[in-house]
Protein backbone atom coordinates (compact mmCIF):
# COMPACT_ATOMS: atom_id res chain seq x y z
CA UNK A 1 0.00 0.00 0.00
CA UNK A 2 1.93 3.04 -1.20
CA UNK A 3 -0.34 5.58 0.49
CA UNK A 4 0.09 4.00 3.89
CA UNK A 5 3.86 4.02 3.46
CA UNK A 6 3.85 7.70 2.55
CA UNK A 7 2.03 8.67 5.70
CA UNK A 8 4.03 6.35 7.90
CA UNK A 9 7.37 7.76 6.86
CA UNK A 10 6.91 11.35 8.07
CA UNK A 11 5.59 9.96 11.32
CA UNK A 12 8.67 7.80 11.73
CA UNK A 13 10.86 10.80 11.04
CA UNK A 14 9.00 12.84 13.57
CA UNK A 15 9.48 10.12 16.16
CA UNK A 16 13.19 9.95 15.39
CA UNK A 17 13.57 13.71 15.68
CA UNK A 18 11.79 13.77 19.01
CA UNK A 19 13.94 10.94 20.30
CA UNK A 20 17.14 12.67 19.17
CA UNK A 21 15.98 15.93 20.70
CA UNK A 22 15.25 14.27 24.03
CA UNK A 23 18.68 12.69 24.02
CA UNK A 24 20.35 16.04 23.35
CA UNK A 25 18.37 17.75 26.06
CA UNK A 26 19.19 15.12 28.62
CA UNK A 27 22.85 15.40 27.64
CA UNK A 28 22.73 19.15 28.26
CA UNK A 29 20.96 18.95 31.60
CA UNK A 30 23.45 16.44 32.94
CA UNK A 31 26.12 19.16 33.09
CA UNK A 32 24.40 20.68 36.10
CA UNK A 33 25.71 17.90 38.32
CA UNK A 34 29.33 18.88 38.62
CA UNK A 35 32.01 17.01 40.52
CA UNK A 36 33.44 19.27 43.20
CA UNK A 37 37.17 19.14 43.74
CA UNK A 38 36.88 20.71 47.20
CA UNK A 39 34.70 17.92 48.54
CA UNK A 40 37.39 15.47 47.50
CA UNK A 41 39.94 17.26 49.70
CA UNK A 42 41.95 19.17 47.07
CA UNK A 43 42.29 22.96 46.90
CA UNK A 44 39.13 24.94 46.16
CA UNK A 45 38.99 25.63 42.43
CA UNK A 46 38.26 29.31 41.88
CA UNK A 47 37.52 31.11 38.63
CA UNK A 48 38.11 34.87 38.86
CA UNK A 49 36.61 37.03 36.12
CA UNK A 50 39.50 39.53 35.97
CA UNK A 51 42.69 40.61 37.70
CA UNK A 52 41.73 42.40 40.96
CA UNK A 53 39.47 39.48 41.87
CA UNK A 54 42.31 37.07 41.13
CA UNK A 55 44.56 39.19 43.36
CA UNK A 56 42.07 39.09 46.24
CA UNK A 57 41.44 35.36 45.78
CA UNK A 58 45.12 34.34 45.73
CA UNK A 59 46.00 36.69 48.60
CA UNK A 60 43.23 35.34 50.81
CA UNK A 61 43.17 31.74 49.66
CA UNK A 62 46.91 31.05 49.43
CA UNK A 63 47.57 27.38 48.75
CA UNK A 64 44.05 26.42 49.88
CA UNK A 65 42.72 27.52 46.50
CA UNK A 66 43.74 27.25 42.85
CA UNK A 67 42.75 30.32 40.88
CA UNK A 68 42.27 30.71 37.15
CA UNK A 69 41.48 34.06 35.57
CA UNK A 70 39.12 34.49 32.61
CA UNK A 71 40.57 37.75 31.30
CA UNK A 72 44.12 37.18 30.04
CA UNK A 73 46.74 39.86 30.78
CA UNK A 74 46.63 42.78 28.38
CA UNK A 75 43.04 42.23 27.30
CA UNK A 76 40.45 44.94 27.90
CA UNK A 77 37.92 43.10 30.09
CA UNK A 78 34.65 44.94 29.26
CA UNK A 79 34.25 43.28 25.90
CA UNK A 80 35.71 39.89 26.81
CA UNK A 81 34.27 36.97 24.85
CA UNK A 82 34.58 33.58 26.49
CA UNK A 83 35.91 30.51 24.72
CA UNK A 84 34.09 27.20 25.12
CA UNK A 85 36.91 25.95 27.37
CA UNK A 86 36.42 28.92 29.70
CA UNK A 87 32.68 28.32 29.94
CA UNK A 88 33.53 24.73 30.88
CA UNK A 89 35.90 26.06 33.57
CA UNK A 90 33.07 28.19 34.96
CA UNK A 91 30.77 25.17 34.92
CA UNK A 92 33.18 23.00 36.88
CA UNK A 93 34.58 25.58 39.34
CA UNK A 94 33.78 25.49 43.05
CA UNK A 95 33.56 29.28 43.23
CA UNK A 96 33.22 31.88 40.49
CA UNK A 97 34.11 35.48 41.36
CA UNK A 98 32.73 38.24 39.16
CA UNK A 99 31.24 41.73 39.17
CA UNK A 100 27.74 41.81 37.84
CA UNK A 101 27.22 44.29 35.00
CA UNK A 102 30.91 44.59 34.17
CA UNK A 103 31.41 41.84 31.61
CA UNK A 104 28.22 40.80 29.81
CA UNK A 105 29.74 37.54 28.54
CA UNK A 106 30.72 36.48 32.06
CA UNK A 107 27.32 37.47 33.49
CA UNK A 108 25.62 35.26 30.97
CA UNK A 109 27.91 32.26 31.46
CA UNK A 110 27.61 32.51 35.25
CA UNK A 111 23.85 32.66 35.09
CA UNK A 112 23.68 29.57 32.90
CA UNK A 113 26.44 27.46 34.42
CA UNK A 114 27.17 28.49 37.98
CA UNK A 115 24.33 30.60 39.35
CA UNK A 116 24.47 28.79 42.72
CA UNK A 117 28.29 28.80 43.11
CA UNK A 118 29.12 32.34 41.95
CA UNK A 119 29.85 35.36 44.12
CA UNK A 120 28.99 38.77 42.75
CA UNK A 121 31.59 40.67 44.75
CA UNK A 122 29.75 43.97 44.36
CA UNK A 123 27.02 42.47 46.57
CA UNK A 124 27.18 44.11 49.98
CA UNK A 125 29.21 47.12 48.82
CA UNK A 126 27.83 50.62 48.61
CA UNK A 127 27.34 50.97 44.87
CA UNK A 128 27.51 54.23 42.98
CA UNK A 129 25.13 55.10 40.18
CA UNK A 130 26.65 55.15 36.72
CA UNK A 131 27.75 58.67 35.87
CA UNK A 132 28.07 60.32 32.49
CA UNK A 133 25.56 60.14 29.71
CA UNK A 134 24.56 57.19 27.58
CA UNK A 135 26.00 54.46 29.79
CA UNK A 136 24.36 51.07 29.55
CA UNK A 137 24.33 49.94 33.14
CA UNK A 138 22.66 51.82 35.97
CA UNK A 139 25.41 50.95 38.44
CA UNK A 140 29.12 51.71 38.17
CA UNK A 141 30.86 48.30 38.26
CA UNK A 142 34.44 49.50 38.92
CA UNK A 143 34.24 48.76 42.66
CA UNK A 144 37.81 47.50 43.11
CA UNK A 145 39.39 50.94 42.70
CA UNK A 146 38.65 51.83 46.31
CA UNK A 147 41.01 49.85 48.59
CA UNK A 148 38.40 49.55 51.34
CA UNK A 149 36.04 47.84 48.88
CA UNK A 150 38.81 45.34 48.20
CA UNK A 151 39.00 44.61 51.92
CA UNK A 152 35.26 43.89 52.03
CA UNK A 153 35.50 41.73 48.91
CA UNK A 154 38.35 39.76 50.48
CA UNK A 155 36.41 39.03 53.65
CA UNK A 156 33.35 37.91 51.64
CA UNK A 157 35.33 35.46 49.54
CA UNK A 158 37.46 34.39 52.53
CA UNK A 159 34.32 33.25 54.34
CA UNK A 160 33.26 31.20 51.32
CA UNK A 161 36.71 29.64 50.91
CA UNK A 162 36.74 28.65 54.58
CA UNK A 163 33.38 26.84 54.30
CA UNK A 164 34.54 24.98 51.21
CA UNK A 165 37.92 24.03 52.70
CA UNK A 166 37.41 23.86 56.50
CA UNK A 167 40.88 22.36 57.03
CA UNK A 168 42.46 25.63 55.90
CA UNK A 169 39.95 27.93 57.62
CA UNK A 170 42.43 29.30 60.17
CA UNK A 171 45.09 30.13 57.60
CA UNK A 172 42.47 31.77 55.37
CA UNK A 173 41.27 33.84 58.34
CA UNK A 174 44.80 35.07 59.07
CA UNK A 175 45.44 35.97 55.45
CA UNK A 176 42.10 37.81 55.23
CA UNK A 177 43.09 39.96 58.19
CA UNK A 178 46.52 40.66 56.70
CA UNK A 179 44.92 41.58 53.37
CA UNK A 180 42.45 43.88 55.11
CA UNK A 181 45.35 45.60 56.93
CA UNK A 182 47.33 46.18 53.75
CA UNK A 183 44.24 47.66 52.09
CA UNK A 184 43.62 49.96 55.07
CA UNK A 185 47.24 51.13 54.85
CA UNK A 186 46.84 51.77 51.12
CA UNK A 187 43.64 53.69 51.85
CA UNK A 188 45.49 55.78 54.44
CA UNK A 189 48.27 56.55 51.93
CA UNK A 190 45.66 57.75 49.39
CA UNK A 191 43.80 59.85 51.96
CA UNK A 192 47.01 61.54 53.10
CA UNK A 193 48.48 61.86 49.61
CA UNK A 194 45.40 63.45 48.06
CA UNK A 195 44.44 65.69 50.98
CA UNK A 196 45.85 68.96 49.61
CA UNK A 197 45.57 69.25 45.81
CA UNK A 198 45.43 72.23 43.47
CA UNK A 199 42.69 70.58 41.43
CA UNK A 200 40.04 68.11 42.53
CA UNK A 201 38.68 67.54 39.01
CA UNK A 202 39.83 64.27 37.54
CA UNK A 203 39.53 64.08 33.73
CA UNK A 204 39.77 60.43 32.66
CA UNK A 205 39.30 58.69 29.31
CA UNK A 206 36.45 56.56 30.64
CA UNK A 207 34.39 56.56 33.83
CA UNK A 208 36.38 53.88 35.65
CA UNK A 209 37.42 55.88 38.69
CA UNK A 210 34.06 56.68 40.30
CA UNK A 211 34.81 54.77 43.52
CA UNK A 212 38.32 56.15 43.79
CA UNK A 213 37.05 59.69 43.23
CA UNK A 214 34.25 59.14 45.74
CA UNK A 215 36.60 57.77 48.42
CA UNK A 216 39.10 60.62 48.18
CA UNK A 217 36.81 63.54 47.46
CA UNK A 218 37.68 64.03 43.78
CA UNK A 219 35.24 64.80 40.98
CA UNK A 220 35.47 62.42 38.05
CA UNK A 221 34.94 63.76 34.53
CA UNK A 222 34.88 60.85 32.10
CA UNK A 223 35.31 61.55 28.41
CA UNK A 224 33.56 58.49 27.08
CA UNK A 225 31.25 57.07 29.74
CA UNK A 226 31.40 53.80 31.63
CA UNK A 227 32.43 51.65 28.71
CA UNK A 228 35.87 52.46 27.31
CA UNK A 229 35.30 51.73 23.65
CA UNK A 230 32.30 53.99 23.19
CA UNK A 231 33.62 56.71 20.90
CA UNK A 232 32.80 60.17 22.31
CA UNK A 233 30.91 62.48 19.97
CA UNK A 234 32.48 65.77 18.87
CA UNK A 235 29.93 67.51 21.10
CA UNK A 236 31.27 65.64 24.15
CA UNK A 237 34.89 66.35 23.20
CA UNK A 238 34.08 70.03 22.92
CA UNK A 239 32.36 70.02 26.31
CA UNK A 240 35.32 68.37 28.03
CA UNK A 241 37.89 70.53 26.23
CA UNK A 242 36.07 73.69 27.33
CA UNK A 243 35.86 72.43 30.88
CA UNK A 244 39.57 71.65 30.91
CA UNK A 245 40.41 75.12 29.59
CA UNK A 246 38.06 76.94 31.91
CA UNK A 247 39.09 75.20 35.11
CA UNK A 248 42.80 75.11 34.32
CA UNK A 249 43.12 71.33 34.56
CA UNK A 250 46.70 70.35 33.69
CA UNK A 251 46.55 66.60 33.26
CA UNK A 252 44.27 64.25 31.29
CA UNK A 253 44.46 60.61 32.34
CA UNK A 254 44.26 57.70 29.95
CA UNK A 255 44.44 53.98 30.52
CA UNK A 256 46.84 51.14 30.00
CA UNK A 257 44.55 48.82 28.06
CA UNK A 258 42.63 51.31 25.93
CA UNK A 259 43.79 53.35 22.97
CA UNK A 260 44.98 56.73 24.33
CA UNK A 261 43.94 58.66 21.19
CA UNK A 262 40.91 60.36 22.72
CA UNK A 263 42.70 61.57 25.85
CA UNK A 264 45.56 62.63 23.60
CA UNK A 265 43.19 64.66 21.39
CA UNK A 266 41.87 66.61 24.37
CA UNK A 267 45.35 67.09 25.80
CA UNK A 268 46.61 68.48 22.46
CA UNK A 269 43.53 70.66 22.19
CA UNK A 270 43.97 72.26 25.58
CA UNK A 271 47.72 72.17 26.10
CA UNK A 272 47.33 69.82 29.05
CA UNK A 273 49.64 66.84 29.45
CA UNK A 274 48.40 63.27 29.45
CA UNK A 275 49.36 60.61 31.98
CA UNK A 276 48.55 56.96 32.52
CA UNK A 277 46.13 56.14 35.32
CA UNK A 278 45.62 52.39 35.55
CA UNK A 279 42.01 51.29 36.21
CA UNK A 280 43.40 47.86 37.10
CA UNK A 281 40.90 46.06 34.94
CA UNK A 282 43.83 43.84 34.08
CA UNK A 283 47.60 43.95 34.25
CA UNK A 284 49.61 44.82 31.17
CA UNK A 285 51.14 41.67 29.65
CA UNK A 286 54.68 42.72 30.57
CA UNK A 287 53.78 44.06 34.01
CA UNK A 288 55.69 42.77 37.01
CA UNK A 289 53.61 44.60 39.61
CA UNK A 290 50.44 43.66 41.47
CA UNK A 291 47.38 45.47 42.77
CA UNK A 292 49.32 47.21 45.53
CA UNK A 293 52.23 48.45 43.40
CA UNK A 294 49.91 49.63 40.62
CA UNK A 295 47.71 51.49 43.10
CA UNK A 296 50.79 53.15 44.61
CA UNK A 297 51.85 54.15 41.11
CA UNK A 298 48.37 55.57 40.51
CA UNK A 299 48.70 57.59 43.71
CA UNK A 300 52.03 59.03 42.55
CA UNK A 301 50.54 59.86 39.13
CA UNK A 302 47.56 61.56 40.75
CA UNK A 303 49.74 63.54 43.16
CA UNK A 304 51.78 65.05 40.34
CA UNK A 305 48.82 65.40 37.93
CA UNK A 306 46.55 67.13 40.46
CA UNK A 307 49.45 69.12 41.95
CA UNK A 308 49.06 67.75 45.47
CA UNK A 309 51.34 68.79 48.27
Amino acid sequence: MPTAKLTARPLARLALTVAAGTLLLSACSSTSTVPSSASSGGPVSVVAAFYPLEYAATSVGGDAVSVTTLTPPGVEPHDLELTAAQVAEIASADVVLYVKGFQPAVDEAVQQQAADRAIDVSDGLTLLAGTGEGEESAVDPHVWLAPLNMATIASTIGTRFATLNPAAADAIGTRTTEFGDSMSQLDARFTAGLAQCASRDLVVSHDAFGYLADAYDLTQIGISGLSPEAEPSPARLKEVAELVRDTGITTIYHETLVDPKIAQTIADETGATSAVLDPLEGLAPDSTGDYLTVMDQNLATLQSGQSCT
Binding site: G74, D79, P234, K238, D259, A284
Partner: protein
Protein backbone atom coordinates in the same frame (compact mmCIF):
# COMPACT_ATOMS: atom_id res chain seq x y z
CA UNK B 1 33.23 78.88 21.59
CA UNK B 2 32.83 78.26 17.92
CA UNK B 3 33.45 75.14 15.97
CA UNK B 4 36.66 76.22 14.25
CA UNK B 5 38.39 77.07 17.51
CA UNK B 6 38.99 73.38 18.03
CA UNK B 7 41.89 71.70 16.28
CA UNK B 8 40.19 68.34 16.30
CA UNK B 9 37.12 69.80 14.59
CA UNK B 10 39.23 71.46 11.90
CA UNK B 11 40.92 68.14 11.17
CA UNK B 12 37.60 66.28 11.24
CA UNK B 13 36.04 68.79 8.83
CA UNK B 14 38.87 68.34 6.34
CA UNK B 15 38.64 64.55 6.56
CA UNK B 16 34.85 64.60 6.17
CA UNK B 17 35.07 66.96 3.19
CA UNK B 18 37.63 64.76 1.45
CA UNK B 19 35.45 61.71 1.83
CA UNK B 20 32.27 63.57 0.88
CA UNK B 21 34.05 64.62 -2.31
CA UNK B 22 35.66 61.44 -3.60
CA UNK B 23 33.26 58.78 -2.36
CA UNK B 24 30.37 59.81 -4.66
CA UNK B 25 32.86 60.41 -7.48
CA UNK B 26 33.72 56.70 -7.50
CA UNK B 27 30.25 55.64 -6.40
CA UNK B 28 28.69 57.02 -9.55
CA UNK B 29 30.71 54.54 -11.64
CA UNK B 30 29.86 51.66 -9.34
CA UNK B 31 26.14 52.42 -9.43
CA UNK B 32 26.24 52.71 -13.21
CA UNK B 33 27.95 49.34 -13.32
CA UNK B 34 25.39 47.76 -10.98
CA UNK B 35 28.09 47.03 -8.43
CA UNK B 36 26.68 49.21 -5.67
CA UNK B 37 27.74 46.70 -3.02
CA UNK B 38 31.37 46.51 -4.19
CA UNK B 39 32.42 49.21 -1.73
CA UNK B 40 30.86 47.28 1.11
CA UNK B 41 32.83 44.18 0.09
CA UNK B 42 36.03 46.23 0.01
CA UNK B 43 35.24 47.56 3.47
CA UNK B 44 35.00 44.04 4.81
CA UNK B 45 38.32 43.11 3.22
CA UNK B 46 39.94 46.26 4.60
CA UNK B 47 38.89 45.02 8.04
CA UNK B 48 41.14 42.01 7.50
CA UNK B 49 43.90 44.51 6.76
CA UNK B 50 43.21 46.35 10.03
CA UNK B 51 43.29 43.08 11.96
CA UNK B 52 46.52 42.12 10.25
CA UNK B 53 48.02 45.50 11.14
CA UNK B 54 47.19 44.89 14.83
CA UNK B 55 48.76 41.45 14.63
CA UNK B 56 51.94 42.54 12.85
CA UNK B 57 52.21 45.89 14.60
CA UNK B 58 52.18 47.82 11.31
CA UNK B 59 50.30 51.04 10.62
CA UNK B 60 46.58 50.33 9.99
CA UNK B 61 45.95 52.66 7.04
CA UNK B 62 48.64 51.29 4.65
CA UNK B 63 47.93 47.70 5.67
CA UNK B 64 44.18 48.13 5.18
CA UNK B 65 44.95 49.71 1.82
CA UNK B 66 47.10 46.76 0.78
CA UNK B 67 44.41 44.29 1.85
CA UNK B 68 41.64 46.20 0.07
CA UNK B 69 43.66 46.48 -3.15
CA UNK B 70 44.47 42.77 -2.97
CA UNK B 71 40.73 42.21 -2.49
CA UNK B 72 40.05 44.34 -5.57
CA UNK B 73 42.30 42.16 -7.71
CA UNK B 74 40.83 39.04 -6.17
CA UNK B 75 37.24 39.99 -6.88
CA UNK B 76 37.97 40.83 -10.51
CA UNK B 77 39.85 37.56 -10.82
CA UNK B 78 36.97 35.56 -9.34
CA UNK B 79 34.44 37.34 -11.52
CA UNK B 80 36.50 36.76 -14.64
CA UNK B 81 37.91 33.28 -14.11
CA UNK B 82 35.19 31.27 -12.50
CA UNK B 83 31.60 31.09 -13.49
CA UNK B 84 30.77 32.71 -10.19
CA UNK B 85 28.34 35.58 -10.50
CA UNK B 86 29.37 39.03 -9.30
CA UNK B 87 27.19 38.92 -6.22
CA UNK B 88 28.56 35.56 -5.11
CA UNK B 89 32.11 36.88 -5.56
CA UNK B 90 31.12 39.81 -3.34
CA UNK B 91 29.61 37.47 -0.77
CA UNK B 92 32.87 35.52 -0.59
CA UNK B 93 34.74 38.76 0.10
CA UNK B 94 32.23 39.96 2.72
CA UNK B 95 32.47 36.88 4.87
CA UNK B 96 36.15 36.21 4.34
CA UNK B 97 36.96 39.83 5.16
CA UNK B 98 34.97 40.05 8.38
CA UNK B 99 36.09 36.65 9.64
CA UNK B 100 39.73 37.42 8.83
CA UNK B 101 39.60 40.82 10.51
CA UNK B 102 38.05 39.58 13.75
CA UNK B 103 40.36 36.55 13.78
CA UNK B 104 43.58 38.55 13.31
CA UNK B 105 42.49 41.20 15.81
CA UNK B 106 41.75 38.61 18.48
CA UNK B 107 45.08 36.89 17.86
CA UNK B 108 46.86 40.22 18.21
CA UNK B 109 48.28 41.09 21.62
CA UNK B 110 46.82 43.73 23.91
CA UNK B 111 44.21 46.28 23.19
CA UNK B 112 43.62 45.35 19.55
CA UNK B 113 40.19 43.79 19.85
CA UNK B 114 38.72 46.87 21.48
CA UNK B 115 40.27 49.25 18.93
CA UNK B 116 38.55 47.39 16.10
CA UNK B 117 35.40 49.35 16.92
CA UNK B 118 36.92 52.66 15.93
CA UNK B 119 37.56 51.25 12.46
CA UNK B 120 34.14 49.62 12.16
CA UNK B 121 32.25 52.74 13.17
CA UNK B 122 34.76 55.48 12.45
CA UNK B 123 36.58 57.82 14.81
CA UNK B 124 36.35 61.17 13.13
CA UNK B 125 37.10 63.19 16.24
CA UNK B 126 40.53 61.65 16.73
CA UNK B 127 41.93 62.00 13.20
CA UNK B 128 45.59 63.03 13.53
CA UNK B 129 47.39 65.54 11.36
CA UNK B 130 49.46 62.81 9.68
CA UNK B 131 46.24 61.00 8.74
CA UNK B 132 44.97 64.13 7.03
CA UNK B 133 48.03 64.32 4.78
CA UNK B 134 47.73 60.63 3.89
CA UNK B 135 44.03 61.04 3.13
CA UNK B 136 44.61 64.16 1.02
CA UNK B 137 47.28 62.42 -1.00
CA UNK B 138 45.04 59.41 -1.65
CA UNK B 139 42.16 61.67 -2.67
CA UNK B 140 44.39 63.55 -5.06
CA UNK B 141 45.39 60.23 -6.61
CA UNK B 142 41.76 59.18 -7.07
CA UNK B 143 40.76 62.50 -8.63
CA UNK B 144 43.77 62.39 -10.98
CA UNK B 145 42.91 58.88 -12.18
CA UNK B 146 39.28 59.84 -12.82
CA UNK B 147 40.36 63.00 -14.65
CA UNK B 148 42.62 61.03 -16.98
CA UNK B 149 40.68 57.81 -17.44
CA UNK B 150 37.10 58.92 -16.66
CA UNK B 151 35.91 58.41 -20.22
CA UNK B 152 37.15 54.81 -20.37
CA UNK B 153 35.80 54.03 -16.92
CA UNK B 154 32.43 55.45 -17.94
CA UNK B 155 32.33 53.37 -21.14
CA UNK B 156 33.07 50.19 -19.19
CA UNK B 157 30.46 50.91 -16.54
CA UNK B 158 27.85 51.67 -19.17
CA UNK B 159 28.29 48.51 -21.23
CA UNK B 160 31.37 46.32 -21.03
CA UNK B 161 30.74 44.61 -24.39
CA UNK B 162 30.46 47.84 -26.33
CA UNK B 163 33.51 49.18 -24.53
CA UNK B 164 35.45 46.10 -25.59
CA UNK B 165 34.42 46.69 -29.21
CA UNK B 166 35.68 50.26 -28.90
CA UNK B 167 39.08 48.87 -28.02
CA UNK B 168 39.01 49.65 -24.30
CA UNK B 169 40.78 47.13 -22.09
CA UNK B 170 37.76 46.14 -20.06
CA UNK B 171 39.54 43.94 -17.53
CA UNK B 172 42.13 46.59 -16.73
CA UNK B 173 39.44 49.21 -16.30
CA UNK B 174 37.29 46.94 -14.10
CA UNK B 175 40.25 46.22 -11.89
CA UNK B 176 41.12 49.90 -11.77
CA UNK B 177 37.58 50.70 -10.69
CA UNK B 178 37.78 48.13 -7.91
CA UNK B 179 41.13 49.56 -6.80
CA UNK B 180 39.67 53.07 -6.73
CA UNK B 181 36.80 51.79 -4.61
CA UNK B 182 39.34 50.20 -2.29
CA UNK B 183 41.16 53.53 -1.88
CA UNK B 184 37.92 55.35 -1.10
CA UNK B 185 36.99 52.71 1.46
CA UNK B 186 40.26 53.16 3.31
CA UNK B 187 39.91 56.95 3.23
CA UNK B 188 36.36 56.69 4.54
CA UNK B 189 37.29 54.16 7.19
CA UNK B 190 38.34 56.91 9.61
CA UNK B 191 35.31 59.05 8.92
CA UNK B 192 32.24 56.81 9.02
CA UNK B 193 33.80 53.39 9.61
CA UNK B 194 34.12 50.37 7.39
CA UNK B 195 30.54 49.27 7.92
CA UNK B 196 29.06 52.52 6.64
CA UNK B 197 31.69 53.78 4.19
CA UNK B 198 29.93 52.31 1.20
CA UNK B 199 26.89 54.41 2.07
CA UNK B 200 28.62 57.72 1.21
CA UNK B 201 29.67 56.18 -2.09
CA UNK B 202 26.24 54.98 -3.06
CA UNK B 203 23.49 56.95 -1.29
CA UNK B 204 24.32 60.42 -2.74
CA UNK B 205 24.46 58.87 -6.21
CA UNK B 206 21.12 57.15 -5.74
CA UNK B 207 19.67 60.47 -4.50
CA UNK B 208 21.10 62.45 -7.42
CA UNK B 209 19.76 59.94 -9.93
CA UNK B 210 16.23 60.78 -8.82
CA UNK B 211 16.39 64.18 -10.51
CA UNK B 212 19.24 64.08 -13.03
CA UNK B 213 19.41 62.37 -16.39
CA UNK B 214 22.99 62.59 -17.65
CA UNK B 215 25.93 60.79 -16.09
CA UNK B 216 27.86 64.03 -15.63
CA UNK B 217 24.97 65.83 -13.93
CA UNK B 218 24.48 62.83 -11.64
CA UNK B 219 28.17 62.87 -10.72
CA UNK B 220 28.18 66.60 -9.95
CA UNK B 221 24.97 66.55 -7.92
CA UNK B 222 26.11 63.40 -6.07
CA UNK B 223 29.34 65.11 -5.04
CA UNK B 224 27.42 68.17 -3.84
CA UNK B 225 25.07 65.95 -1.85
CA UNK B 226 27.96 63.87 -0.49
CA UNK B 227 29.82 66.97 0.71
CA UNK B 228 26.66 68.45 2.21
CA UNK B 229 25.83 65.24 4.05
CA UNK B 230 29.30 64.69 5.48
CA UNK B 231 29.72 68.30 6.60
CA UNK B 232 26.23 68.78 8.06
CA UNK B 233 26.44 65.39 9.73
CA UNK B 234 29.72 66.30 11.38
CA UNK B 235 28.66 69.80 12.36
CA UNK B 236 25.42 68.37 13.74
CA UNK B 237 27.36 66.00 15.96
CA UNK B 238 29.34 68.97 17.26
CA UNK B 239 26.23 70.60 18.67
CA UNK B 240 24.13 67.57 19.58
CA UNK B 241 25.68 64.60 21.28
CA UNK B 242 25.35 62.01 18.51
CA UNK B 243 28.03 59.94 16.73
CA UNK B 244 29.16 61.61 13.48
CA UNK B 245 29.34 58.56 11.18
CA UNK B 246 25.72 57.42 11.42
CA UNK B 247 24.56 61.06 11.36
CA UNK B 248 26.31 61.60 8.03
CA UNK B 249 24.72 58.51 6.53
CA UNK B 250 21.26 59.41 7.80
CA UNK B 251 21.55 62.93 6.37
CA UNK B 252 22.47 61.37 3.00
CA UNK B 253 19.47 59.03 3.21
CA UNK B 254 17.26 61.99 4.05
CA UNK B 255 18.45 63.76 0.90
CA UNK B 256 17.51 60.63 -1.03
CA UNK B 257 14.00 60.64 0.44
CA UNK B 258 13.52 64.35 -0.27
CA UNK B 259 14.75 64.11 -3.85
CA UNK B 260 12.66 61.00 -4.48
CA UNK B 261 9.54 62.96 -3.53
CA UNK B 262 10.63 66.05 -5.48
CA UNK B 263 11.32 63.87 -8.50
CA UNK B 264 7.72 62.72 -8.92
CA UNK B 265 6.37 65.93 -10.57
CA UNK B 266 9.60 66.38 -12.56
CA UNK B 267 9.32 62.96 -14.09
CA UNK B 268 5.65 63.50 -14.85
CA UNK B 269 6.44 66.74 -16.66
CA UNK B 270 9.16 65.07 -18.68
CA UNK B 271 6.76 62.36 -19.74
CA UNK B 272 4.20 64.99 -20.80
CA UNK B 273 6.77 66.86 -22.85
CA UNK B 274 7.62 63.67 -24.63
Amino acid sequence: MSLLDFDFMRRALVAAALVGLIAPLIGVFLVQRRLALLGDGMGHVALTGVGLAFLLGTAPIPTAMAAAVAGAFLIEFIRYRSRTAGDVALALLFYGGIAGGVMFASLAPGRAASSLNSYLFGSLSTVAEGDIWALALLCLGVVAVVAVLGRELFAVSLDADIAAVQGIRVRTMSTLMAVLAAVVVVVGMRVVGLLLVSAIMIVPVAAAQQVTRSFRATAVLAIVLGLTASLTGLVGSFYVEVPPGPTIVLVALLSFAVLAVVAVPIRRRRREVR
